[in-house]
Structures are given as structure tokens and as C-alpha cells.
């Protein structure tokens, strides 16, 4: 870059960089929330190892059952999804204490849930972890409940089995989880060779989540589906005018 910022402006940027950088406690809290959100969403093609290692979740809600049923019927994605489903539908399977940080770090009590979902599961929710989830940017209910405040992330490994279903139920019912489930159905349909079914799911996504966080992915999937159906012109019209759109077009609309 040719020009440079003046020194005083640079000093402000530098101070801001420090100030905006999350602390390691904040990062750990974010991580727990993120993993809880992903765990609240039934097994995902994006990270099969997690889907498997996080099979302890108890998504025995009406919505989750619907999602699983739909998945089972569609038999999409082969054994992975079905394995995940059978591991989850029995609800209360508990995690064996283990040293894998992926599981123990993911205690989902700090997760944010939409108000309506929280209400729906309120009776099941642990009275300690609920306020903790609202107010503590710390590691969440587990460490909070055990009043251990200063363990480093790496030693935060072994946790006893916890009844942790409430937040996951909430997560499964969150709008985000619904949206993800829908787009995942579309992707699965596409991967199992049913682009027309994928389009139906994508129509539903556009209808219900027009401003959804997965809008871009949804469009890319639609482009793929149209390509698969031989509707290349429509696919080209629709493809986002960016690198990913071009990549999907060149990949999906040329290979048979």
C-alpha cells in the first residue's frame, strides 16, 4: 500500500486492536456456544467427527423428532446420519467422562437461546445454569456449578456426566437450527441424486428464511440443483456473481 496512516491514527488502531481482541475466557465461552449450536443441530456433513463425538445430545423434542424422521425416511448421506439418529433418539444417553476436549468444552449452558425456546423448556432447565447462561461470559454452567473458576482451557477436560438436555433442546428449536436443518435436507437430497427434492426444500428455505444466514449457501445449492436437472440457463442467471458462484457453475454445470 502506498500511503500510510498518520502516527496518531495508527496509535488508535493499535489500541483498538488490543481492546477488540477477545480474552481467552471469552473465546472459550464463544467456543462452547458455537459447539452447542452445532450440537443442537443434528449430525452435519461439515464435521462428521463432531457429529459422532457429540452424540450425547438429547434432542428429544417434537421438532428434532420431525427432523430425524425426515432424515430417516430420506436415508440421506448414508450411515452417518442414521448412526447419528440412532444415537440421539433415545434421548438420555450420557457421556462417559473422557478427556477429549471436544466434548467437555462444549458444555452448552452458556448458549444463548431465543426467548420462546427458553420458555418451552424452562421446567427442565437447571436453575443454576439458566442465570449463568444469561449473565456469565465465563465457561458456563459446569464450571460455575462446581465453583472452579481458574482452570485453564487445557485442564478443563474431565467432566462427569451431566444432564444437559435442556439447552440442546432449546438449540434444536432455535430458528437457526431449523434453517440449518432445512438447508441440510436440500443438500442431502442433492447428494443422493434427487435435485428436484432439493429444490422443494430450497423453496421452503426461501419462503421461511428469506433473510436467513444461509441464504448464500441456499442459492449455491439451488444453482447446483438446477445444473443437475440440466437447467443450466436458469442456473447461470441465478448464480451469485462472485468467485463461489463461478466455481459452482463451472463444477456442477459442466460435469455430467
Amino acid at each position: 500500500m502506498t500511503d500510510e496512516l498518520r502516527e496518531d491514527a495508527t496509535a488508535i488502531v493499535r489500541a483498538a486492536r488490543d481492546a477488540l481482541t477477545p480474552t481467552s475466557a471469552e473465546l472459550t465461552a464463544h467456543e462452547a456456544r458455537v459447539l452447542a449450536a452445532i450440537r443442537g443441530i443434528p449430525g452435519d456433513a461439515g464435521a462428521p467427527t463432531h457429529a459422532e463425538s457429540l452424540v450425547t445430545s438429547a434432542t428429544n423434542t417434537a421438532l428434532a423428532k420431525k427432523v430425524w424422521l425426515a432424515l430417516a425416511f430420506m436415508a440421506v448421506g448414508g450411515g452417518g446420519y442414521l448412526f447419528g439418529a440412532s444415537g440421539r433418539t433415545d434421548g438420555r444417553r450420557e457421556s462417559v467422562p473422557r478427556t477429549s476436549s471436544t466434548v467437555t468444552r462444549a458444555e452448552p449452558d452458556v448458549q444463548r437461546v431465543p426467548a420462546e425456546a427458553t420458555e418451552a423448556v424452562a421446567p427442565a432447565q437447571d436453575s443454576v445454569s439458566a442465570p449463568a447462561a444469561q449473565n456469565m461470559p465465563a465457561r458456563g454452567g459446569v464450571s460455575f456449578a462446581r465453583s472452579s473458576s481458574s482452570r485453564s482451557a487445557s485442564t478443563f477436560a474431565v467432566a462427569p456426566p451431566q444432564p444437559i438436555e435442556a439447552p440442546q433442546v432449546a438449540a434444536a428449536e432455535s430458528r437457526l437450527a431449523q434453517e440449518v436443518a432445512l438447508v441440510r435436507l436440500a443438500r442431502s437430497s442433492l447428494q443422493s441424486g434427487a435435485p428436484n427434492v432439493a429444490l422443494l426444500h430450497l423453496d421452503a428455505h426461501v419462503r421461511d428464511f428469506s433473510d436467513g444466514v444461509l441464504a448464500h449457501e441456499s442459492t449455491l445449492l439451488r444453482v447446483r440443483a438446477l445444473c443437475a436437472l440440466g437447467r443450466a440457463d436458469e442456473a447461470r442467471t441465478l448464480a451469485p456473481n462472485d468467485a463461489e458462484g463461478a466455481a459452482v457453475l463451472s463444477q456442477a454445470c459442466t460435469t455430467p
Binding site: 500500500m1 502506498t2 500511503d3 500510510e4 496512516l5 498518520r6 496518531d8 491514527a9 495508527t10 488508535i12 488502531v13 489500541a15 483498538a16 486492536r17 488490543d18 481492546a19 477488540l20 481482541t21 477477545p22 471469552e26 473465546l27 465461552a29 464463544h30 467456543e31 456456544r33 458455537v34 459447539l35 449450536a37 452445532i38 443441530i41 452435519d44 456433513a45 461439515g46 464435521a47 462428521p48 467427527t49 463432531h50 471436544t102 444463548r112 437457526l176 440449518v180 438447508v183 441440510r184 447428494q191 433473510d211 444466514v213 444461509l214 448464500h216 449457501e217 449455491l220 462472485d242 468467485a243 466455481a247 463444477q251
Partner: protein, 179 residues
């Protein structure tokens, strides 16, 4: 299909490598502290969803940043729409209690707030380039990849953004001086 055989990048590794950058950048793109938890969650749900699609055409860093940009921009728009409806400060941060850390925390908060106030005065497309260049130390090529614009555009936006930032700083100083 083509995705089935690819080795999947490990999501947790991606999270741990990029989380710090993601949080900071989202804030600098205009996501208020009060919403950062939700936005970070959204960003990584998208990353997780799309990890299988990552093809190494770009670096993971610019790929993730592209997602941050999309999600944060949506929130930015939403926040402005809400602010237009009723004029309340979207970012009413609580101040720390009388800890020993309080003054340090306050300092941090002020440093962040000053910067955010200044970049808020830069037009969005320039601001985003500015944030990635100055705050995150991205090269022009990396910015071009992350924001999906060409490199010359990056250079010109950055030059303008620097002028805007310095002008905003000048105004801020003038205002304080007259107080």
C-alpha cells in the same frame, strides 16, 4: 460426489485458529458488543456448514473472513434499520463494577469505542477494507479475495478510507478542544 472423498478440515481447529480474528473483525465491521455472541455463533454455524465446500481456492483466512463479512453486514443493516425506527443506543454496555481491573477495562472500552466511532463515519465498503488492512493486517490481495473485489478497488478504497478516518479523528479532536 466430489465432496465425499475429500478429507474434511477439522472444524475445531478452524475455530481455534480464526476465532480471535473473527470476533475482532465482526466488532470492527459494526456488530455491537451486545450482539457479538449471537453473531459469532452464526458465523461459525455457517463455517461449519460450509467447511466441506472449502476447496482451497482461497486461503482459509480469507474464506472465513468472507463469511464474517456477509454475516456482519446483514447485522449492520438490521441494526441501522432498527435504530432508524427508534433512536436508542444499540450498544449500551454495562460498565465494570469497582474492581481493580475497572480502570483498565474502561481504558480498553474507550479505545475500542473511539475506534468504532471513527470507522462508523466511513462509508461501509471503504470501512471494511480499512478494517482488514489496518486492524487485521491483511494484504491487498487477501482483502480482494475476502471481499470478492479486485485489488485496484481495494487500494483506492483503502486510500479514501484512511483519509476519512483521519478526517473523523480531526473532527473528534476539534470537538473535544472546544469543550
Amino acid at each position: 460426489m466430489e465432496l465425499a472423498t475429500d478429507p474434511k478440515p477439522d472444524f475445531l481447529a478452524v475455530y481455534r485458529t480464526h476465532a480471535e480474528h473473527v470476533v475482532r473483525t465482526a466488532r470492527a465491521f459494526g456488530v455491537p458488543a451486545s450482539e457479538i455472541d449471537d453473531v459469532v455463533q452464526e458465523i461459525f454455524v455457517v463455517v461449519h456448514r460450509r467447511l466441506a465446500d472449502f476447496e482451497g481456492r482461497s486461503s482459509m483466512k480469507t474464506w472465513v473472513t468472507g463469511i464474517v463479512h456477509r454475516v456482519a453486514s446483514r447485522h449492520r443493516d438490521r441494526i441501522r434499520a432498527a435504530a432508524a425506527r427508534h433512536d436508542s443506543s444499540a450498544d449500551a454496555d454495562e460498565f465494570p463494577t469497582t474492581d481493580e481491573d475497572a480502570s483498565k477495562a474502561l481504558e480498553r472500552k474507550e479505545a475500542a469505542a473511539t475506534f468504532l466511532r471513527l470507522v462508523e463515519q466511513i462509508e461501509d465498503s471503504r470501512r471494511d477494507v480499512f478494517v482488514l488492512a489496518e486492524l487485521e493486517g491483511f494484504s491487498a490481495q487477501e482483502i480482494a479475495a475476502a471481499l470478492d473485489v479486485n485489488v485496484n478497488t481495494v487500494y483506492s478504497r483503502l486510500r479514501l478510507a484512511r483519509d476519512d478516518f483521519e478526517a473523523a479523528l480531526g473532527r473528534e479532536r476539534a470537538k473535544r478542544g472546544t469543550r
